[in-house]
C-alpha cells in the first residue's frame, strides 16, 4: 500500500514557507498569488494498515501541539481538497534517484518502530486559482529546481516508490584500435570522458601494447584519474610564457612556482620548519602545539552549485570536511569557511542568460546549503566572504574550507599490503556520476538538463555519524590510511590509496542505495558521505564494532594487494584490470603557450561632485562591502565552544578581519583565519590581483593577532578558458605572484585547488553565440596561529579619547576600487604590493599587539581607509575624528578634472593600497606604539570620540561629519 501523509500547521499565520511563496510571486510579477499554504508531505510504501499509517503520522510526523495531519491512500480525493479555500495543489518531489535526506531519516525511524517501509518526502503547496502558465512559472522560479525535483500539479499518481532492477554482469569492451582522431574525440564526448586527443592516443597505445581493447570500466577509471579536477593537468603542465617580466619556461608550472616557494621557505627555516605534510595529502598539515598538528583545505564546488545551489554548496562543504577527516590518520574538523562569488543581486532579468539561476536565488540557495550542512555537522562556520562581479553570472564560485586538528604523529599514513579496503558511510547510488569530468568542462545553457546526474544532494547526518566513527577508530589507531570518496568516487579513492600497491576490489560488495547499478556505476559514483579506510585484517573486528555502535555501515570490499594492479571484480569475474603505473604516470604531459601583457591604463579621471561622507555612504552600501549579517547569522559560528573572535564583533556587531578560535577546548593557543580576494583586479592585472589577495588574507589574520612568522596559505585558482594563451598567461602571472609573495613573507602555501574552464556559453535572444568568462579569481586563505587567545585584537573602537594611527602609505591607485564602482572615479593604476614594506608592517603591528598597546586593529581593504574607520565605529558604537592631511600619502595623489583637493581627499579616503592597518591606541601607549613602528611608515590621524559621529577633516581643513548610525544603516542596506 502507498500512503500519503500531509502535515500542516494549525496556525496558518506561522506558515513561513507560504509567506516566501507569496512574496516571491509578487517579486516575479505573478499577480493573484496573495495567499498560500504549505504542507510537509510523506509517501510511505509498505505493508501498513490505515490505523498503522495514522499512528505513524501521529507519533513520527506531526507535532501534537502545533500541527495536524491527513492520511490517505495516494491519489485519494481528500488529499487534494482545497485548504483555506485555496484550490490549486502543487507537489514538489525529489526526482527518482536523487538523495532524499528527510525521507531516509523517516524511513530509518519507521524501521526502529518496527515498520519496514520505503519513505519519500515531498513539499505540498495550496495556491489560489491561477492559470497554468503562472503555476508553471511559480514552480520554476520559486518552488522547485528541475535538475533535482519533479513538480506535479493536482493529484499524485505514483504506483510505487521502489526503483531499480538487478543488474546482471555484462562486460563492455570499447574498441579504440583503428579509430582516427575525430572518432576518438567523438567517443570521449559521447561518454563524457573529457580526455584530450593526446591522452586518448596514450590510452589507445597502452592497450595496443597490452594486446586487448579496454573495458568500459577501465576507460572510465582512466578518465576520472586523469580529469582536470583530479590531477590539475593545466597547472602542472609545461608552459612557455611571455609576460611583463620577460620570457619564462616552466616544465611544471605549479611545482616551479607555488610548490617551489614552500620548498624554499622550508629549507630556509631548516630545523624551525613548521610544515608537516604539504601538497601531498587531502589537506595541508602544519605544527600547532606540543601535542597537535592542524590542517586546512579549501575546495571549490562551482559547477554543481551553478545548477543546484543548495545541493552543490552543501556537498561542497561535505566534501572538504571529508578531506580533513581523510588527512593522515584522520583529523577532527573544527572550523569551516565559505566564500561565494556571484553576480550582483540587482542584475536585471533581461541580463540573465537562459539556463542561469537568478543571482539572488542562487546566493540564498548556496548560503542555505552551507548552513544546513555545516550546522548539522556541528562545525562552526567562522569565516568567509561574498564577492560580486557580473562575470560570475553563469559561473558562480563556491569555495568551502575546513580546518582540522589531529594528535602529533597522525599526519603521515601508509597503506600496508594485505590491508582490507573498507568503505564506510553512505550507500552508493547513481548520484554524481561524472562529477569529476563534468567539473572539467564548460557550462552551457543546456547543462542543467544534460548534467543533472552530476548534481548531488547531501545527507549531513550520515556524515556526522561517519565523522564520529572515523574519529573514534582514529583515536584507537585502527586503520593505516584513510581518504574520502570525492570526485571520481571509489575509483579515485581506492586508486589513490592503492597507487603503488594496487588493490583487488569486489564491486558487487559495495552497499547500494537501490538495485541496478552496473559495476562501472558503483565504481565511479560520487554518492556523498563515504570514506575508504585501509584496515589490517586483525583490526577489522574492532572497526566493525565502532561502526555498529555509531550506526554507520562499514563494509570490506577488497584488499590492497601489492600487485601494482587495480583489479575489479563482479561476483568473482574480472571486470577490469589496470596497471597502476600507467594509471598514475601514463598521462602524457602537455606543453602550453601563454602570454600576458597588462594593457596600459587610462588616466585617472574624477567625475561628479560629492563629499567624502556621501561617497562613504555609497561605498558602505555596495554589495562587496555591505553587511553580510543576514548570511552570517544563519551559520552556527560558535558550536564546539572554541569561539574567540567571531565574524561579527563588538556592541555594534561590525565585521571582523580574521576570526579566532581556540585549537583545543580549555587551552589558550589559537587559530586565526583570514581570506583575501581582489577579484576586481583580475581582468586588470592578474599578478597584482593575486599579490593583493595574499596581502589581504595575511593582513586579516595579523590584525586579529596572528603571529606573522607562522602563517600558512592556501590557493584556490578559478579561471576562465585556460586553453587560450592570454587566459593561461594571467594564470601564470598569478602563480608567479604566489611564489614571490610567499617567499617574501615566509608564508608557505600548504594546499590548494583549482577550477578552470569557468566559461558560460549560450545563444542570446537574437540568435548570436555568446560567452561569459569569470574574471581571473584567486582566493587566498591564511591560517595563522596565536600563542594566547586572550591577546587577540578586535577591530571595534573601544574608548573615546584613544588615538588612531594608520600604518602604511596610501597611494592614489584607484583602478578596481570600490569607489570606482560608484562611478566617481575611473582609470588610474592598479594598486601594487610592496612586499618588503608589508613584511615590516605586519611585524610592527604584531610587536605592538604583543606589547599590549593595540586596543583595536583593522586592516584597510575594500573601500579604503574611510570604510575601515567607519566599520570600526559601527562595530564599537563610537565616533571618530580623522584628518586626511595627516595620512601618509605618496606624492602625486589626487589630481584630475575635479580639481586637486576633492580628488586628493577621495583618493586618500578610498584608495585600496594593500597592506595598511588602522590601530586604536591609548594616549599613554602612544610612545610605545611608535617604538614598535620603528622603520615603518605610520602616522597619527585622529582619535576616538564619544560624539557618535565620524568626522573627516579634508586636506584643506574642511570638516565633514556624519552620524555613525547613518553609516550603520547604509552598511546594513537600510538606506533605500
Amino acid at each position: 500500500m502507498l500512503w500519503e501523509v500531509d502535515v500542516v500547521l494549525r496556525d496558518g499565520g506561522g506558515d513561513h514557507a507560504a509567506r516566501e511563496v507569496t512574496t516571491g510571486a509578487a517579486a516575479h510579477g505573478i499577480a493573484g498569488c496573495t495567499r498560500a499554504r504549505t504542507a510537509a508531505g510523506w509517501l510511505i510504501e509498505g505493508d501498513l494498515s490505515r490505523e498503522q499509517a495514522e499512528r505513524l503520522a501521529n507519533t513520527l510526523f506531526a507535532d501534537p501541539v502545533t500541527e495536524s495531519f491527513v492520511v490517505d491512500v495516494i491519489g485519494a480525493g481528500r488529499l487534494t481538497q482545497p485548504l483555506d479555500g485555496l484550490p490549486t495543489v502543487v507537489h514538489v518531489l525529489p526526482k527518482a534517484g536523487v538523495t532524499d535526506p528527510a525521507g531516509l531519516t523517516a524511513q530509518a525511524a519507521a524501521a526502529a518502530l518496527g515498520h519496514r517501509v520505503v519513505v519519500r518526502s515531498l513539499r505540498k503547496y495550496w495556491l489560489p486559482s491561477l492559470d497554468a502558465t503562472d503555476v508553471g512559472r511559480l514552480a520554476e522560479k520559486l518552488l522547485a529546481n528541475d535538475a533535482i525535483q519533479d513538480v506535479v500539479v493536482g493529484p499524485l499518481a505514483i504506483a510505487s516508490l521502489a526503483g531499480g532492477r538487478t543488474w546482471s554482469f555484462a562486460q563492455e569492451t570499447i574498441t579504440l584500435t583503428g579509430l582516427d582522431d575525430a572518432a576518438l574525440e567523438k567517443l570521449s564526448r559521447a561518454r563524457c570522458l573529457a580526455l584530450s586527443i593526446h591522452e586518448l592516443h596514450a590510452v589507445r597505445d597502452h592497450f595496443a601494447a597490452v594486446g586487448r581493447e579496454p573495458f568500459e570500466i577501465e576507460l572510465e577509471t582512466i578518465a576520472q584519474t586523469w580529469s582536470e579536477h583530479c590531477c590539475h593537468k593545466t597547472l602542472t603542465s609545461g608552459v612557455d610564457h611571455v609576460g611583463p617580466a620577460g620570457e619564462a619556461r616552466y616544465d611544471n608550472l605549479l611545482k616551479e612556482t607555488v610548490f617551489a616557494a614552500t620548498r624554499t621557505i622550508r629549507e630556509t627555516l631548516g630545523p624551525r620548519d613548521w610544515c608537516v605534510s604539504v601538497f601531498k595529502d587531502n589537506s595541508g598539515v602544519v605544527r600547532f602545539d606540543g601535542d597537535h598538528d592542524i590542517c586546512v583545505k579549501v575546495e571549490t564546488h562551482n559547477h554543481p552549485s551553478a545548477i543546484e545551489p543548495y545541493g552543490g554548496a552543501a556537498t561542497g562543504l561535505g566534501g572538504v570536511i571529508r578531506d580533513v577527516l581523510g588527512t593522515g590518520l584522520g583529523a577532527k574538523p573544527i572550523a569551516n569557511l565559505d566564500v561565494f562569488c556571484v553576480a550582483p543581486p540587482d542584475t536585471p532579468a533581461h541580463e540573465i542568460p537562459p539556463g542561469v539561476i537568478d543571482p539572488q536565488r542562487l546566493l540564498a540557495g548556496v548560503a542555505a546549503g552551507v548552513r544546513d550542512y555545516g550546522n548539522r555537522m556541528g562545525i562552526p562556520t567562522i569565516a568567509g566572504a561574498v564577492a560580486f562581479h557580473p562575470g560570475y553570472i553563469g559561473n558562480p564560485l563556491v569555495f568551502c574550507g575546513t580546518v582540522g586538528i589531529m594528535p602529533r604523529g597522525h599526519a603521515n599514513a601508509a597503506v600496508e599490503p594485505g590491508d582490507l579496503v573498507v568503505v564506510a558511510g553512505g550507500r552508493t547510488g547513481r548520484d554524481g556520476i561524472h562529477g569529476a569530468t563534468f567539473s572539467s568542462i564548460e557550462l552551457t545553457s543546456e547543462s542543467e538538463t544534460e548534467s543533472g546526474g552530476a548534481v548531488q544532494i547531501g545527507h549531513a547526518i550520515n556524515e556526522k555519524m561517519l565523522t564520529d566513527f572515523v574519529l573514534e577508530a582514529s583515536r584507537q589507531r585502527l586503520f593505516h590510511a584513510i581518504t574520502d570518496c570525492g570526485a571520481g568516487g571509489l575509483s579515485s579513492a581506492v586508486g589513490e590509496m592503492g597507487a603503488t600497491l594496487g588493490a583487488d576490489v569486489d564491486l558487487d560488495r559495495v552497499p547500494l542505495k537501490y538495485e541496478g547499478l552496473s559495476a562501472t556505476e558503483a565504481w565511479i559514483s560520487e554518492a556523498q558521505e563515504r570514506m575508504v579506510l585501509a584496515v589490517a585484517p586483525a583490526d577489522w573486528p574492532a572497526v566493525a564494532k565502532i561502526a555498529a555502535d555509531e550506526g554507520v555501515e562499514a563494509t570490506p570490499i577488497g584488499v590492497f594487494t601489492g600487485s601494482g594492479r587495480i583489479v575489479l571484480k563482479w561476483q568473482g569475474r574480472v571486470a577490469g584490470d589496470l596497471d597502476c603505473h600507467f594509471l598514475h604516470e601514463g598521462r602524457p604531459r602537455q606543453r602550453l603557450v601563454s602570454r600576458s601583457m597588462p594593457a596600459s591604463r587610462p588616466p585617472l579621471t574624477w567625475s561628479g561632485d560629492t563629499t567624502v561622507t556621501t561617497a562613504l555612504l555609497n561605498v558602505l552600501a555596495l554589495p562587496d562591502v555591505a553587511s553580510k549579517e543576514r548570511i552570517v547569522r544563519q551559520y552556527d559560528h560558535e558550536v564546539q565552544g572554541c569561539s574567540v573572535l567571531k565574524p561579527l564583533l563588538g556592541p555594534g556587531e561590525g565585521p571582523a578581519d580574521g576570526t579566532v578560535i581556540r585549537g583545543v577546548l580549555g587551552r589558550d593557543r589559537g587559530i586565526v583565519l583570514g581570506v583575501g580576494l581582489r577579484h576586481h583586479l583580475g581582468r586588470l592585472d592578474a599578478y597584482q590581483m593575486a599579490a593583493g589577495g595574499i596581502v589581504e588574507a595575511i593582513a586579516n589574520a595579523v590584525a586579529a593577532g596572528a603571529d606573522p612568522e607562522r602563517i600558512a596559505l592556501l590557493d584556490n585558482f578559478c579561471w576562465g578558458d585556460t586553453r587560450r594563451p592570454e587566459s593561461l598567461g594571467t594564470l601564470v602571472e598569478a602563480c608567479r605572484a604566489c611564489h614571490d609573495l610567499a617567499v617574501a613573507f615566509a608564508a608557505p602555501f600548504v594546499s590548494g585547488k583549482d577550477s578552470l574552464n569557468n566559461v558560460f556559453t549560450y545563444t542570446d535572444a537574437a540568435g548570436a553565440a555568446r560567452e561569459i568568462s569569470i574574471p581571473p579569481t584567486l582566493l587566498v586563505t591564511a591560517m595563522g596561529q596565536l600563542d594566547d587567545v586572550r591577546r587577540a585584537v578586535s577591530p571595534d573602537l573601544k574608548t573615546p579619547g584613544n588615538r588612531l594611527a594608520v600604518v602604511g602609505e596610501t597611494k592614489p591607485d584607484m583602478a578596481g576600487s570600490q569607489l570606482s564602482l560608484t562611478g566617481r572615479v575611473s582609470g588610474g593604476d592598479v594598486p601594487t604590493v610592496d612586499a618588503a614594506t608589508f613584511r615590516a608592517a605586519i611585524r610592527a603591528v604584531s610587536a605592538a599587539r604583543r606589547a599590549g598597546v593595540l586596543q583595536a586593529c583593522h586592516d584597510v581593504s575594500d573601500g579604503g581607509l574611510a570604510t575601515a574607520v567607519a566599520e570600526m565605529g559601527i562595530a564599537g558604537c563610537l565616533g571618530a575624528r580623522i584628518s586626511l592631511a595627516d595620512v601618509p600619502a605618496a606624492a602625486g595623489a589626487g589630481g584630475g578634472d575635479l580639481g586637486l583637493d576633492l580628488g586628493l581627499d577621495l583618493a586618500i579616503a578610498f584608495a585600496e593600497t594593500p597592506g595598511r592597518f588602522v590601530c586604536e591606541v591609548r594616549p599613554e601607549h602612544a610612545a610605545e606604539f611608535a617604538r614598535c613602528m620603528d622603520g615603518v611608515r605610520f602616522a597619527w590621524i585622529g582619535e576616538v570620540t564619544s560624539s557618535a559621529h565620524l568626522e573627516i577633516v579634508s586636506t584643506t581643513g574642511a570638516s565633514d561629519r556624519i552620524a555613525v548610525d547613518r553609516l550603520a544603516q547604509a552598511w546594513h542596506g537600510e538606506n533605500a
Partner: protein, 255 residues
C-alpha cells in the same frame, strides 16, 4: 567527597556534547558522554550519575522536526529509566535540541492526565536558523540551575526555538508556578532580544521541582569571557563567563 557525575546523552547528530562535558568538568563535576544506543542496552550506566544532560545538536538530522526521533527513541526504549532517574532526585538539563527533546518526551510540561506535551518549540518566526547573543532575565524560583542569577547574556543558535503552548492561557499558571524562569529580555536600547517569537519571551522552562530544566540558549558557550562577542577591551579575558554558573549550580546541588 566524590565529584558529581554528569551523563551527557548523545544521539546521532548531537554536536554540543564535548563542550557541554567540558563545562561540567570546569564546574567541578565529572562528565561522561554516552550514546543513546549504549544507554538503551545498559540503562544501569545512569545509576551512578546525578545529572543527565541532553546537549545541543541536530539529533537524527532533525529532518522531520527537531528532537522528534531522539524523543521517540527515549520514550520507547528508556522511558522507565528516565522517570526513575528523575524520581530519585537526579537533575535533568536539556540545552537547545535537548530542550526540544525534553518537551517531546513529556519529561517537561506534559499534560498530567494525558501525558501529552503541552508545549513545543516551533520554527522561528523569521523562518531561518539564527546564531546571535541575547540578553536573558532570570527569575530562578525553584529552578536549581539558575540559582543566584538575575540577568545574563548567552548565545542562541537554532531554527526551531519558538516556545508555544497548546493553550496559550496556560502561560500565566506556569509563570505563577515558577516554571518559566528564563526569558528573553530587552537590550540597552529597550528593544526585545527575543530571537524567535517565543510566547511570553520564554527562553527556558522547568518542572515544578526545578530539577528538570530545558532552555534554548547555550550556557556551555559562555564559560570563558573570551566567548562573548565584545570581550576584547571590555571584559577580563581570564574571567569565567556567566554560563558557567548553570553548571556550578548543578554540581553544587548534587554534591
Amino acid at each position: 567527597m566524590l565529584s558529581p557525575r554528569a551523563l551527557i546523552l548523545r544521539a546521532p547528530g548531537t554536536n554540543c556534547d564535548h563542550e557541554t562535558a567540558h563545562a561540567f568538568e570546569r564546574a567541578g563535576g565529572l562528565a561522561r558522554r554516552v550514546h543513546v544506543r549504549a544507554l538503551a542496552e545498559r540503562p544501569a550506566i545512569a545509576d551512578d550519575c546525578q545529572i543527565l544532560c541532553i546537549p545541543g545538536g541536530f539529533s537524527y538530522g532533525d529532518d522531520i522536526a527537531s528532537g522528534r526521533i531522539f524523543a521517540l527513541e527515549l520514550k520507547t526504549r528508556l522511558g522507565d529509566a528516565l522517570m526513575k532517574f528523575r524520581d530519585r532526585g537526579g537533575l535533568v538539563l536539556g540545552i537547545c535540541n535537548g530542550f526540544q527533546v525534553l518537551l517531546q518526551t513529556g519529561l517537561l510540561l506534559a499534560d498530567p492526565t494525558t501525558g501529552l506535551p503541552e508545549a513545543s518549540l516551533a520554527h522561528n518566526t523569521s523562518g531561518r536558523f539564527i546564531d546571535r547573543w541575547v540578553r536573558l532575565s532570570c527569575d530562578p524560583g525553584p529552578c536549581v540551575f539558575l540559582k543566584g542569577l538575575s540577568e545574563l547574556e548567552l548565545p542562541v543558535a537554532h531554527g526551531e526555538g519558538r516556545f508555544v503552548l497548546r493553550d496559550p492561557a496556560r502561560l500565566e499558571s506556569l509563570r505563577a508556578a515558577g516554571q518559566v524562569p528564563l526569558t528573553y529580555a530587552t537590550d540597552d536600547t529597550g528593544r526585545p532580544t527575543n530571537p524567535n517569537g517565543s510566547l511570553g519571551n520564554v527562553a527556558g522552562a522547568c518542572d515544578p521541582t526545578g530539577r528538570v530544566f530545558g532552555l534554548m540558549p547555550h550556557p556551555e558557550r559562555f564559560i570563558d569571557a573570551t566567548q562573548h562577542p565584545s570581550w576584547q577591551g571590555r571584559l577580563d579575558p581570564s574571567a569565567p563567563g556567566a554560563g558557567l554558573t548553570f553548571f556550578i549550580n548543578a554540581v553544587k546541588a548534587t554534591a
